[in-house]
Every structure is written in structure tokens, then in C-alpha cells.
């Protein structure tokens, strides 16, 4: 199956610096299947027009396609289409939500996040806290970087936060969080729950109704889709209740110099010309995901991950950080005191593309007393051969460093 799927991703077959590419940076952005590339291509060649309020055929067709993807996404996430807002990406989504919920915050209130969050799920809340006087608190994690679930539940009960915002899976370490059980407790405290699904969208395909969260954010480019588009889910009542964020065309009901009125959600949050080709390309990505057996795929990803963890664990001096039991397929490691950048640079000369650094999670790195890690992030289109190549390259690199 995987050999067949790999053929759908043209980039996996390119040569980089005369080496066959082993792409292990899917947590930063995934590669795209040909069908997604074709959909974008076809849009510009045959269907390109601006959406909404156009009387001509191309514009009507583009609008229909664009809105159909909203419905497709809503089905994928098991929510209603009107609860889905298109944005520029997960960062844009989190900014919109943190701004939109600020009205509900005052200086008695607590925003609870985890120390594992991506900067995109920290800084917008810091800004909201700054505006409103609310306080940010963090959930407890182990020295290894694993969320302490029981203590977290306890803390939620004790603090009764106004907002709980956590990632479904950590981009730096790959840890999967049992967000459903946190949300369960939080909801009973009247807490508004936000899930950063940037990393879980592809690997865990969450059912948001089952999760029970109030908000959920993601980026298309991390789930086989184009860059420059993402979205958010918001429980309709809460969503529609938020004040408008960005303003301009499309999102208004009526503009006049004496006063302006806005549309209902999701319209009110979508001013201006959207990323039409991006949404349509993402529609093709959802079709692609819907067409493959996701349990088989998840199983394969887990086998690949085990294989990688086992091989790495056999190398003396390598330390793997985070939770290796519940993981979306991301390995973050260090080798002795060697600098992550040196390791990544040498690996790159073997065609092995990994990421090194703080992965936009500086507070987590500080907690782990690290300047950064080397991160190997898998997707279903990786092969066992890729991992063998990586392990060989890493051994060579270590030999060189130890010379």
C-alpha cells in the first residue's frame, strides 16, 4: 500500500544535492499528493474567479466549490459547516480566538495552557492576558516533557480557568494528549476549551463532537494541503457570540458612515478575498485522506515510529525526549552534548531532511534545559528504507563528531 501511496507524492522522488531525499520534516509541513497539486493547477487554468456575489458562471462555480470544501471539512471533523471558519492557518486561527474571547476575560481570570505549547498557542494568550489582566497558568509536566494527566485534571478543578488551550499533539516531541478527558473536566467547570490540532489533524483525524471541545484550530499545509490556508471550528453559539476580528468586504451586512452591521458566523470572520485556490486544493487533500483506509495508515505510521525509536535507542549517547508511548510519530533527540544544528547539518549531506532547534517551543526547551533538539517527524509516506538511511547517516555523523 505504502509504495503505491508514495508514488502520489512527486517531491519524494526528487534528488536533493544529488542524494535521494529522505523527508523527515512533515511536522513543519507535509508534502502534497499530485491530486492536490492538480486541483490548484486546474483552478487557475480553468476555474479562476473571485467568490461570492458574482453573477457570472465562473464566479458562481468557484463559490460553489469553495463552500463545498467547507462542508467537506465539517464532515471530516464531524461538526456543522457554519461552525467552520477559513483562516490563513493555525496561527491566524489562534489569534482570532484569543482576540474574540478577550471580552470574556478580566483580571480574576485564568488562562490555562501547557508548557508544551507551540508559540502560536502561547503568545496570543499572553497578549490577551496583557489586554485584560487575566493570568496565564501552566499544566504540570515531567522533567522528560510528558504531561501529568491526573495532576492536570486536578489543577483544572482547583483553578477553574476561564479558558483551557492545549495542543492535541506536541509538535516538538510528538506526545499525544488525552484532551477529551481534560475537556470533560474543564467543561464541568464552565471552562472554554480550545484544542490546537495543527499536529493531530493528519495523524489522529479527530472527531470534534467526540472530543467535545469548544474550539479547534489547524493548518492545511500540515495535512497535505496548500500553504496559506487553515481554519477553525467553533461551537456555533460561542463562535457567533465573539466580536468581529478583521473587518472589510464580504463580512458585512451593511456599511455606512453612520454605522456598520456584520453578518453572522462564519461570514463575519472572513473579510476580503479568501485563499480560494488554497481552499480548493485542501478539498482535494480531504478527498485523498477520505479515500485511504485510515486505520491501516495509522497502524503503519505506528510501526514505522516503533522501528525508528528502537533503532535510535540502540545508539549509545542518544536521548529521546517526550512520550514514546502515545506519539504521533515525532522523535526529538539529542546526542550527548553535541549541538543539534551540527547533527542536522551533517544529516542533510546524506539527503536526510530533519529539523533542529527549539521548534517554536522555547518554554518547553527551557523546561528540558536544552537549547534545542534534532526532530525527525514521520508521515505515512515515509518508508522503512528512509529510516535505515537516516540511522546509517546518523552513525556516520556520530563517528565524525567523535573523531
Amino acid at each position: 500500500m505504502i509504495e503505491q501511496l508514495r508514488k502520489d507524492f512527486p517531491l519524494l522522488h526528487t534528488q536533493v544535492d544529488e542524494q535521494t531525499l529522505c523527508y523527515f520534516d512533515s511536522a513543519a509541513t507535509t508534502q502534497k499528493p499530485q491530486s492536490v497539486i492538480d486541483a490548484v493547477n486546474k483552478f487557475y487554468q480553468q476555474e479562476n474567479a473571485n467568490v461570492h456575489r458574482g453573477a457570472h458562471t465562473l464566479s458562481a462555480a468557484a463559490t460553489t466549490q469553495y463552500e463545498a470544501v467547507r462542508t467537506k471539512l465539517a464532515d471530516f471533523l464531524n461538526v456543522a459547516a457554519k461552525e467552520v471558519v477559513w483562516t490563513k492557518g493555525a496561527t491566524d486561527s489562534l489569534n482570532l480566538i484569543a482576540y474574540g474571547l478577550s471580552d470574556k476575560l478580566n483580571k480574576e481570570d485564568i488562562i490555562l495552557i501547557s508548557p508544551l505549547e507551540h508559540h502560536a498557542n502561547i503568545v496570543p494568550w499572553q497578549q490577551a492576558a496583557h489586554r485584560t489582566g487575566a493570568r496565564i497558568e501552566t499544566l504540570p509536566i515531567s522533567p522528560q516533557g510528558i504531561l501529568d494527566l491526573e495532576a492536570s485534571k486536578q489543577l483544572i478543578k482547583t483553578l477553574q480557568p476561564k479558558i483551557l488551550s492545549v495542543c492535541h499533539a506536541s509538535n516538538a516531541l510528538g506526545n499525544i494528549h488525552d484532551v477529551a478527558s481534560l475537556i470533560d473536566i474543564a467543561s464541568r467547570c464552565g471552562t472554554i476549551t480550545v484544542v490546537d490540532g495543527a499536529q493531530s489533524f493528519l495523524h489522529l483525524r479527530p472527531d470534534l463532537t467526540a472530543l467535545g471541545c469548544d474550539f479547534f484550530v489547524f493548518s492545511a499545509h500540515k495535512a497535505l494541503g496548500p500553504t496559506g490556508v487553515g481554519g477553525l471550528f467553533g461551537r456555533y453559539e460561542l463562535l457567533n457570540d465573539m466580536p468581529v476580528y478583521q473587518t472589510g468586504g464580504e463580512m458585512i451586512e451593511r456599511v455606512s458612515f453612520s454605522g456598520t452591521t456584520f453578518r453572522d458566523a462564519p461570514g463575519k470572520f472572513e473579510p476580503g478575498t479568501p485563499n480560494i485556490s488554497g481552499v480548493i486544493g485542501f478539498g482535494a487533500a480531504l478527498d485523498y485522506l477520505n479515500a485511504i483506509d485510515d486505520s491501516a495508515l495509522a497502524h503503519y505510521e505506528q510501526c514505522l515510529y516503533r522501528y525508528l525509536v528502537d533503532a535510535l535507542s540502540d545508539i549509545g549517547g542518544v536521548k529521546i525526549w517526550g512520550d514514546i508511548k502515545q506519539n504521533i510519530g515525532v522523535v526529538s533527540f539529542t546526542y550527548k552534548d553535541e549541538h543539534h544544528f551540527d547533527i542536522a547539518t551533517f544529516l542533510n549531506t546524506y539527503g536526510v531532511a530533519v529539523r533542529s532547534g527549539h521548534h517554536c517551543t522555547q518554554p518547553l526547551m527551557e523546561h528540558l534545559s536544552l537549547s534545542g533538539t534534532v526532530r525527525v517527524s514521520l508521515a505515512f509516506y515515509n518508508s522503512y528504507q528512509d529510516i535505515d538511511t537516516f540511522i546509517d547517516a546518523l552513525k556516520d555523523t556520530i563517528d565524525m563528531l567523535e573523531e
Binding site: 456575489r53 458574482g54 453573477a55 458562471t57 464566479s59 458562481a60 463559490t63 460553489t64
Partner: protein, 135 residues
């Protein structure tokens, strides 16, 4: 023309030029609503152009009477089709009718811009809601 005649006529025409022309002609035959009846509560929400609609029972309190108008000729033509569908029905008969489906059958929904299609839907929803209120 009753709704079957309209349907047959529209289906017999080939090309959207001829169809829209016919729709517009249907609108022309619809009498204009007196200005006094173009009240805010008669305005149907969710249409891009103005659509006013009144729905009531006839003097015997039996059959539906609909009158409607729009500031665009084509929407007025679409209203003529909707009125031909519902006018003179008994409320329980009207409940069985799905005018939106009828529009889809004629291929009109696919060809209308999505916002226009939503407008048609809004008009039909409003009729349905009022019909339900009669019972």
C-alpha cells in the same frame, strides 16, 4: 400557466438565454405589488435583491393566496414560478410540495449563483414556515 406548463415550457427551451428570457417574461405577467405592501416584515431575509412576499388564506380560509414582488426581473420570474407552485393549494397539499426540488429538477439551481440559489431557498423556507403555522 400552471406549474406543469411552466416546467414543460422551460424544459423545451434550449440555452440559458432563452430560459432566462422566459423566466423574465413570467415575471412581467406577475402584477406589481402596491408600494404600500412593500413593508419591512414582507421582506424576505437572505435574498441579495429585495423580495417581498405575502401569504394568506383565501376568503373561505381554505386555500393559499400568495402575492410577491422583487426589484429584479429575473427574481420576479422565479417568484412567478414559486407562486404558480403554491397558489391555490390547500395547506396540507402545500406541505407535500418541495419547490426547491422543482427548481433543481429544472436545472435552475445549478445555474443560479449560489447566493441567488440561497435566496430561492430562503423564499421557500419562509413559505413553508408560514404554511406550517396555519395548522
Amino acid at each position: 400557466m400552471d406549474i406543469t406548463q411552466i416546467q414543460n415550457r422551460l424544459n423545451s427551451l434550449s440555452g440559458w438565454q432563452a430560459k432566462y428570457r422566459e423566466i423574465m417574461m413570467l415575471g412581467k405577467k406577475l402584477p406589481a405589488l402596491p408600494e404600500a405592501l412593500k413593508t419591512p416584515d414582507a421582506l424576505v431575509q437572505g435574498c441579495e435583491s429585495n423580495v417581498w412576499l405575502h401569504l394568506d388564506l383565501d376568503e373561505n380560509q381554505e386555500r393559499l393566496v400568495l402575492i410577491a414582488d422583487s426589484d429584479t426581473r429575473i427574481v420576479k420570474g422565479l417568484l412567478a414560478i414559486i407562486l404558480a407552485t403554491y397558489n391555490n393549494l390547500l395547506p396540507h397539499e402545500a406541505k407535500e410540495v418541495d419547490a426547491y426540488e422543482l427548481f433543481e429538477e429544472m436545472g435552475l439551481i445549478k445555474h443560479l449563483s449560489p447566493s441567488r440559489g440561497n435566496g430561492v431557498k430562503a423564499i421557500i423556507e419562509r413559505i413553508k414556515a408560514q404554511v406550517n403555522a396555519f395548522q
